[in-house]
Symmetry: none
Subunit: 111 residues, 4 copies
DNA sequence: GTGGTCTAGACCACC
DNA sequence: GTGGTCTAGACCACC
């Protein structure tokens, strides 16, 4: 099912920019919570009805804005922007659990 | 190989208009069939020995005449003008996914 | 729709080996003709109900057997094994441009 | 004619990186002199036997390295790196000549 | 099974 | 006639 409230063909601005804004809104609304993975780029492309390259530019923009963090071969995750007190572990060794969360050492907010 | 029967330098009127007329004739003759793509802008420009801008104005003219339909990044396609009774639904509900064929609901002419 | 006549869970040997054998049979039966592309990796994985990695090992095996040729970003194509007398020149001078058809110099079988 | 001494298929590293390095060498060798335009991206893609996207990533890399300057709709030009004393005109108005050189106010080095 | 690189093109904005 | 955006895919590296 495609995303509602998103019609890239009828509005000004670049499609990838509008798509990034739309995802940013979903993040800010809490639909996509911190530490949770975004849908995969292929899935995002399907949902938004755009090509893979356009979906990738959208996530690239979100990355530049600091809203998401991408881990190669793992996925793209919503950043934790609570009060800017975030501190990445300096030499974080795996805790042994399946590495699907780049902030593995923290208590989750929702799940 | 440039298009034969087309010498823009020797006749009155805008070149792009004569070029559009020439393509329209090819469409009406069936050389360019409904739903088939026109040559790309650059290729049209080469074939007719004109600049890109001129080729674009020619296809723009064909678009205004309803002879072709352009889909961004896909191409420009010969319109289906059988009987002129084609009527797009005024508030047509989208099927959700971008149509790769602007005449998707019709029985195919060729395939 | 998954491939019929293929139930990897019920037979001995590696799944990717059985999958490669199955595709090899389709090639030998002419269902997948020389110079024609195999389904893409993801599609093969879906059709056979296996993971991407398994599908890749299967095509890798076919590649080692000389049954297919892979061109990056282009696809994997059924090799032409007529008479086995095909012999690539050992220090073949490149024509300078990347071949879009690895059998470019031969008379086409289909087109 | 494709560029000699460039075989992207047989060496490590990304194609666009190797392509950028190759162009950088041509710049440093003086073959592509300061203020002169690079071949257009389409032409570069043909010369190097790569796709347009790859050629664009190569010029993007050269831009990041400060070796070239790109002007939209004008072209990509070899930067002038003589002694770092380069100073862009603050409110440069056109001098009236065809704007094919982003450093129009300077005496040319070669041409 | 993800993100990454790459192909081979298209039309678009701007000059 | 350039660079820019975009399509619709492919295989690759890595996990």
């Amino acid at each position: 099912m495609p995303i509602s409230n998103f019609d890239p063909g009828d509005t000004p601005g670049y499609i990838y920019e509008r798509m990034a804004d739309h995802i940013a809104t979903r993040i800010n609304a809490g639909e996509l919570a911190p530490h949770k993975p975004l849908p995969a780029e292929r899935r995002l492309a399907e949902e938004y009805g755009v090509s893979l390259g356009t979906a990738r530019r959208a996530t690239e923009l979100l990355r530049e804005r600091g809203l998401v963090v991408t881990l190669r071969s793992k996925g793209t995750f919503v950043a934790d922007v609570r009060g800017e007190k975030k501190c990445y572990p300096p030499t974080g060794e795996s805790t042994g659990q399946p590495e699907s969360d780049p902030w593995g050492g923290e208590p989750p907010l929702i799940a």
